[in-house]
Amino acid sequence: MTSPIRSDILIIGGGIMGCASAFFLRRRGISVNLLETDLVGRQASGTNFGNVRRQGRPLYQLPLANRSIAIWRQAQALLGTDIEYLQRGHMRVSYRNRPEIAGDMERYAAEAAQFDLDLEMISGNALRARFPFLGPEVLAASLSPDCGHANPRLTGPAFARAAERAGAGVHEMCKAVSAAKVGDDFLVTTQDGREFRAPILLITAGAWAKRFVEAFGETAPLTSRGPNMCVTEPLPYAIGPSIGVATPETMESVYFRQVERGNLVIGGSIQNPTFPDEYRVYVKPENSIGQWQQMQRLIPAIGKLNILRTWSGIESYLPDHQPVLGPSAAVSGLYYAFGFSGAGFQLGPGVGETMAELIGTGATDIDLTAYRIDRFSSE
């Protein structure tokens, strides 16, 4: 039997959380091995909408989101490759039949200002003049000019390759099948029979995190769903911000952005069923049709555009829509970052930097109280 592969830290899960953590750990000179069942950044990290948005997040999440956006702004230089980050704004709109949402957006804007999130409230003729394509049902909007969007297909792999160049061991098609603490070390075996050993283990396994969490005697009521995504034919580039409907009704909650090549990427409305054990997710046609109906409320003229492709991925959800982020409550040397509940893409780089800081120095200024794993143990 070959001897175990050693490093300071072992990461299970090669989504954006794991890849960004590996990257920032290497910048602290810490040795890393990252294990990924498939290819890096393929599921939630690679198939999501690509929103790099802070607005709409709970206020207590904004310090982490702010840390993240600082990294997004310098991502190209940091990673040595273009991940198509466009800081062209993010806008939430509300419909006339839900006037209370416009009020909610105004209150949020007032509170978020303390966290360096500047939001501009627009309505009436000003809104029509700036965004003439919005449908007559749209009442008001909240625009965050300093948010934006990026290409999720490129982002996870870009962090992984940059981490690799910095010396991380990124092991793709390498499925972790068991993890245990043996003495002072964590011992992880993979499907191909290899053994990895490290004094610190970070679980960033998204929808697949549960079995590792439970192996260490903890619990997280993790479920998974698949985003409802599609893309149109390319059109002349015209729309800067990504735009979404603020509503409590899932069916109505569609959003879109235009990439510089011209295609509109569309997401939202009803999500798709997932099969994490088979690594599969299927887009349900009724969900696509429902989304296309809703998109025509948001932008009537969009009916003329053709959809080229639909897709989904496997995202992990927790009941309170907040991730588990930080140290294990049961096992020393064990850390978690999973369960981002469909809102992790923007946070990814900030999570990576925060986890590297926490693991490297033993502390971080980011308040992780809301994300503790033991918040589920009393339930």
């Binding site: 296309w292 998109m295 555009l305």
Partner: protein
């Protein structure tokens, strides 16, 4: 038990024979076809008002074409025929369609996919210029519209269609500048043992070459295309190629019909979650089927060129056979002599198809040699160089990963025309076997759909 719901997708030779076989057994299948009129691409009918005879349109296959057309017309009272209907997704045992009445979903107990084929094309530098068409396109222009694709046409590639289309063009009075075959003549000799199992078809092929040469059209073998020389505004101006003796030549032309045999339109088989397997001879991934056309998924059956390229005659046989498999699986009596006869015919056509694949090999080495500036994916304008960089710099060694990082195959045709060549380029650049590159996964919609087709209730 209520009458089972059986859907046949496609109304070409395979779909027609499948539907006929089911109707003969007293069932009423639903036939969904994207075209306005039945016949498929091979026996595509010209529009109403055109007057050319079956003999003019289909040559040696005129009687077969007539029997498919007349047979389908006779079948109409016994089937639920939905023309102009795109099956764009399969989900939860239902076919999701967009037709004249908008979106609709139809449940099925059995689904027969007779989805036909499109051209398999090896890119050439400059093939994005206006005036470059697939061989199938060149044939459809003539068959369905009585037009030539240009005033001076070069046909390039390999496979039986290369000769068939060139001969049809010559006969119709089009100006054909040359027929350039990428396969060496010697490959044909090596393939003879398999080809001889269909002597009549083989003879038809030989006769076509004779007709082309008799018309004074040069036919060159072992050609390597170098560049479609053209202009972004005016399109194709000439074709530059290397002849088998190594000399480089230019032929003036304003149109090129190119293709290297065909590839199955297997998107629905993929959406039905059928298993696929790599076939080394044709260097393609094909949906797995048993001798009768059962896929790996219960209730999903495959027939015709949509499952494996074997030609129109074979499609009629495999359509029948797949329908018998449906009947048998649903508990209807099936004559075992029929099964035996059809299975042996299907096997014979399969052997002939292997001979054709040997005689007209897919020129995979051309992919390796494509200059970096060649546009490989016409939809997204992704070059061979970009694709190679994705392999080298980003470590993409798998088809879908390369697509995610480079956009190859991500455009409006969904990789139909670049996917196979892209896989060859990835394999060559990564230094891995083609099989390990895998295949582009298919995603709904099978063809683009306007968002406005999704109407809200009440409209």
């Amino acid at each position: 038990m209520a009458e089972p719901s059986i859907i046949v997708v496609g109304a070409g030779p395979a779909g027609f024979r499948a539907a006929q076989t089911l109707a003969d057994a007293g069932l009423r299948p639903i036939v969904m076809d994207e075209a306005r009129r039945a016949g498929g691409q091979i026996y595509r009918r010209q529009p109403e008002g055109f007057t050319r005879s079956h003999q003019d349109l289909y040559g040696t296959e005129a009687n077969r074409a007539r029997s498919v057309h007349d047979g389908f017309d006779a079948l109409l009272p016994h089937i639920d025929y939905r023309s102009d209907t795109l099956v764009w997704h399969l989900s939860d045992g239902q076919a999701w369609t967009l037709g004249p009445d908008g979106h609709r979903s139809t449940p099925y107990d059995a689904l027969l996919l007779c989805t036909g084929a499109t051209d398999r094309v090896m890119p050439v530098k400059g093939w994005h210029h206006a005036g470059t068409y697939s061989l199938g396109a060149a044939q459809i222009a003539l068959k369905a519209q009585a037009c030539a694709i240009g005033s001076r046409v070069v046909f390039l590639g390999s496979g039986p269609l290369l000769y068939l289309v060139a001969a049809q063009y010559a006969k119709a009075g089009a100006n054909v500048a040359a027929v350039l075959d990428t396969s060496p003549f010697s490959a044909r000799i090596a393939a003879l043992p398999n080809l001889l199992c269909q002597p009549a078809v083989l003879w038809n092929g030989i006769a076509l070459t004779r007709d082309i040469k008799k018309a004074g059209i040069p036919v060159l073998y072992g050609v390597t295309p170098v560049e479609v020389v053209g202009n972004p505004e005016t399109g194709v101006g000439s074709l530059r190629f290397r002849a088998s003796d190594g000399t480089e030549q230019d032929i003036d032309c304003d149109a090129i019909g190119m293709g290297h045999h065909l590839r199955p339109e297997a998107q629905l088989a993929d959406l039905a979650r059928c298993d696929f397997a790599f076939e080394a001879l044709t260097r393609q991934w094909l949906p797995v089927q048993d001798s009768d056309g059962r896929s790996s998924v219960d209730g999903v059956y495959l027939a015709g060129d949509g499952a494996r390229i074997s030609g129109a005659r074979s499609a009629e046989v495999s359509g029948r056979l797949a329908a018998l498999a449906v009947l048998k699986d649903l508990g209807f009596p099936v004559d075992s002599a029929d099964l035996t006869h059809l299975r042996s015919a299907k096997a014979r056509y399969g052997r002939f198809a292997r001979g054709l694949a040997q005689a007209f090999p897919w020129p995979s080495e051309q992919a390796k040699a494509l200059p970096d500036e060649t546009i490989v994916c016409r939809c997204e304008a992704v070059t061979a160089g970009t694709l190679r960089e994705t392999v080298r710099e980003a470590g993409a060694r798998e088809a879908n990963r390369a697509k995610a990082l480079s956009r190859v195959g991500m455009g409006r045709c969904q990789g139909r025309y670049c996917g196979l060549a892209a896989a060859e380029i990835i394999a060559a650049e990564a230094g891995v076997p083609l099989e390990s590159v895998g295949r582009l996964r298919n995603a709904a919609p099978v063809k683009p759909i306007a968002i406005g087709t999704a109407r809200t209730s009440g409209e």
